[in-house]
Structures are given as structure tokens and as C-alpha cells.
Amino acid sequence: MKIVIIGASAAGISAAKTIKASEPDTEVVIIAKEDRVHSRCMLHKFLGHQRDAQGISFIADDFFESSGISWLNNTTVIGLDAQNKTVKTHDNQDISYDKLLIASGASYFIPPIPGLRESKNVYGFRDLKDAQLLDRECNTAKDAVVIGAGLVGMDAAVALLERGLKVTVIEMTAAVMSLQLDQKSADAYQQLFEEHGAAFILADKVVSVDVDAVGRGRTIHLASGKAVAADLIVIAAGVRPAFNFTEGSGIATNHAILVGDDLKTNIDDIYAAGDVTGMAGIWPNAMKQGRIAAINMLGEKLLYQDRYALKNTINFFGLTTLSLGNINPQPEEKCQILIREDRNNYQKLVIKNGVVEGVIFQGNIGGSGFWQYLIKNKIDLSAKNKDLFSLSYADFYDQDPATGEYRYAV
């Protein structure tokens, strides 16, 4: 059997690994538009010059050779013929498959703001190519503007600060990383970034960009009337699943490739995993989807049930935060909020009817992994009769006597 995988990020690589681990004789071909495999979550380390391109790889150096996987890099898929079971590449190869995994990810999105799309010095911060282009700009640029203070924008900002640029971050909402943090935990990061030289303009919007004679965006105008000078602009205003090449193939889409719980599309033998499905959320979920899609492609049956994606960890300047679930409940949700803090820690639990719905731990996050289980499985803690902050996995411990694997006693 021959399995073709489009995309070499978390989902694609984890699928390839899974296939080769259980059926080494299956032929696996990975097609990727990138030059080399790299972890998107480490791009800031590349741009900040803490690591080179090799240093942000998440696979072993000899991964493709040792696992016998064919690797077509710098190759863009431009078409898919589901009838004849082939994909077409930009250089006119028709590559046949028995089973296909689409793990082509997502691409960044430039909002239709006058002057912004036209500017030649606007970059996303999505893959190594973006980081390489930014790297070049950093050699001469002085003023950097980052649009969007989500995790990607903050990653870019931290790297640009590292390179000695003057960084201004512009954000529509009133706080940084507002999907992951509440006001208090966001303020802590904002302050740290400011101490390292960044400036923030929050609750404001870009309305236009002045483009100079050579096509570079120079002045960014905001709804408030403020204007910010820019030598380079990073756009971090969200991503869109990338699946242009499926047009006309009959694959069902709705702003993303639609898949069932088995990660199969509406067409037999074609599966999708990762950001292209619009449900990955974060790296670990994409890895898991890749693995599950692979197992299903090999003819076994495994369902993707761990869809819980409202989760993240943050580590900037050594300040670590765990964020899970519903962390900013609306008053009408009538949640109970417990706060515990000292000079190094801020901890918040959001509880409704005995079930924890959200957690923010800022500072010490050691040993906090079990909270995800409690939240996603909606475990009722009212009977525990315990200070909830003191909970640990020990309160739910059970051991399989035969294998010693842990289980949850709930």
C-alpha cells in the first residue's frame, strides 16, 4: 500500500511515524511546500537567533532515511484527482496514492485593510519561510509593528525584542492573549514585555497603512487617530485552513476540510488531520489526529474523541502559565471563582455546580497536568470535600494491576 501525506508539520509527521511503526512495509510519501521539517512553536527561537533551522526541527536528523519515508520538500500540491487517486504538484508531477492524508495546515490571513495587503514588508509568522524573511528584515529594520497580541503575535514580539528592534504591539481587545488569560494574568505578561522594551496599543484597530514609493508600509494609522512608524510589520490576526488544491475534487469543505470522528473525509481513502480540519487548536491535538488518522488508514478503527482544544501553556521571560477551559466566564453563567495568590503565583479556578470549568495557574505550573482531565471529563468534585487547590492526581489514583498503567478512579 502507498500512503501519501500532504504536509510535514505535527499531524503529517505523527501520521507517518505511526504508519511506519506498525507497518514498516507500507510506502509513505510526504509532500511539503517547506524546505525542511520544523516546529512552528519554536519559530521565535529561530528569529531570535537562539537556534538555527536545524535546531527547530522536531524529528531526528535521519528521520526520513531511517524510517524509509520518501520526502518531497519544496513541493506544492496544486490539484487532487480523487477518481484516479493522484495529486498534482506545482512541478507537474502526478503522484498516485492508495490512501491520502491531507495535513496541509493553515495559512495566515491579512485583513483587508487599505495599504496592508499591498505592503511588501508585511509578514506572517507561520512557518520557517516567514521567519527567514523576517530574519533578513531584522538586519536593517529598527521599528517593528506586530498586529495581534495573541500567542503568535507575542512569540513574534519576543523574538524581535531579542533582535534589538523597537517593537509595538497593536491589539483589538483590551488585553494581551485574551483567549488564554484573564486581565490580571495578562497584565503580568504585558508588564514583562514592557520591561523588555515593547510598547502596547490595546483596544485599538488598524484602519490604514501608508505605503511608500517602493511599496513598503511605513505608517500605520489606528482608529484612535494614533500613527505608528514601521520598518517591518508582522500580521498575527489569525489563520485559515489551507486546502485550495481540493477544489473540484468533491471533498466536502466548510471553511475547513470536513471529517468524521474517524478523520475520514466524505471520500473513501482520503483523510484529513491537523489545522486543515479547523479543529486542531494546538500542537498536541494535531499530533493526536495524525496518529488516529494513520491508524484508520491502516484499516483499524479508532475515533478522535479528545477534541478538547481550549488549553495552552505560556512561557515568556520565565513566567509560566497554564490556561484551561472557560477562564473568563460571563456574569450570567453564575460561576464560582476561587482565587489564590502570593507574590510569585496567581491561581484561579472557575467552578460551576461542583465541576471545574476553567483554570489559570500563573507562576508554578508543576504537576498541573491532571486538571485537563478533570475539566474535559467534567468530573464532579463536590463530594471531594477538599480545598480544590490542593487536589492532585493522587485524589483519583488507580493502578491497573497487570500492567501498572495509571487509571482514573472517579
Binding site: 505535527a10 505523527s14 516546529s39 512553536c41 519554536m42 527561537k45 527547530i56 526541527s57 522536531f58 524529528i59 531526528a60 494546538i282 500542537w283 498536541p284 499530533m287 493526536k288 496518529r291 488549553k311 495552552n312 501553556t313 512561557n315 520565565g318 513566567l319 509560566t320 497554564l322 484551561l324 505550573i365 508543576g366 504537576g367 498541573s368 497536568g369 491532571f370 486538571w371 485537563q372 482531565y373 492532585s392 492526581y393 493522587a394 485524589d395 489514583y397 493502578q399 497487570a402 500492567t403 501498572g404 498503567e405 495509571y406 482514573y408
Partner: protein
């Protein structure tokens, strides 16, 4: 593969396993010279006490389908194909702590001092015979067993 099997009834909460773990990861120290005030003195195991059920020592399970490995963004966490143990490569780690969030048993933690590394059980695979915690337990509340998955 080899696993540390826990018999909580036998545990007295003496913390010998804890100190043995710290010492095993503090170059050149032994049970008597180990510097517990060093900010790097973090154990990879922990003991919890419950008024009803008593003490419970907990260790990384080196899970069959390890969530930490599956969540690692850098390839720093990998399952060793020979031992089955989940090993950590500090040089690859990006200190994102996705793994801390995804270990369902809450055994992973960032290092206290720099928040640039992970504190993770290595089963003392670089040392001869059993893990240091198991050797240090006076009650035999923890024992290494060969398990098949």
C-alpha cells in the same frame, strides 16, 4: 518493559524515594551530601497524603501511549524503543510546557530555577540496576516489575 509498581499500603511517607531522586540527579551527591536547598533540587516523584487512604508515592508511568510524547513540540520527549521508557533531551526542549499540561497524572514540572527545562523521570536508565527511588525504599512499597503491554 520495566515499570515501578506501587503498593500504597506499605508506604510510610518517609520520603526516602524523593531524596534519592534528587540525589540521583545532583552530580556527585549521595544520600548524606545531597544539597536540598539547591534550587535545582527537584524530585521527579512525589508523595501525597490523604487522611483516609494514607500515603501514595507517585512516579512517571512511562505510559504506553504517552501523552507527553504526543504533545512535545520539539522531539525532546521520545519513547526509547528498547526500554519503553520515555526519555527527555534537554538540548532539544523549547520549554513550552505543553507536556506539563498534557501529562494526565501531573508528574511533569518545569525546573524552578530557570524555567528552561523539564523535570522528568528517566528511570535512572543511565545507572546500573534499579531506579534510585526503588533502591531507597525501606518498606518495599515500590518495586520494579517487568510488565507486558
Amino acid at each position: 518493559m520495566k515499570r515501578i509498581i506501587i503498593d500504597r499500603e506499605k508506604c510510610d511517607g518517609c520520603l526516602n524515594c524523593n531524596i534519592a531522586c534528587i540525589s540521583a540527579h545532583q552530580e556527585g551527591s549521595n544520600f548524606y551530601t545531597v544539597d536540598l536547598q539547591d534550587p535545582d533540587a527537584q524530585a521527579r516523584n512525589f508523595i501525597k497524603y490523604d487522611p483516609q487512604k494514607g500515603y501514595l508515592p507517585l512516579f512517571c508511568r512511562h505510559c504506553d501511549q504517552a501523552e507527553c510524547v504526543l504533545s512535545c513540540i520539539s522531539g525532546a520527549l521520545e519513547k526509547d524503543p528498547l526500554t519503553g521508557h520515555v526519555q527527555y533531551d534537554e538540548n532539544k526542549c523549547a520549554a513550552c510546557y505543553m507536556c506539563v499540561m498534557n501529562c494526565p497524572y501531573g508528574v511533569l514540572k518545569p525546573d524552578n530555577k530557570s524555567r528552561t527545562k523539564l523535570i522528568k523521570c528517566d528511570f535512572c536508565d543511565d545507572k546500573p540496576d534499579d531506579p534510585s527511588c526503588v533502591k531507597a525504599c525501606p518498606k518495599k512499597a515500590i518495586a520494579v516489575k517487568e510488565v507486558s503491554l
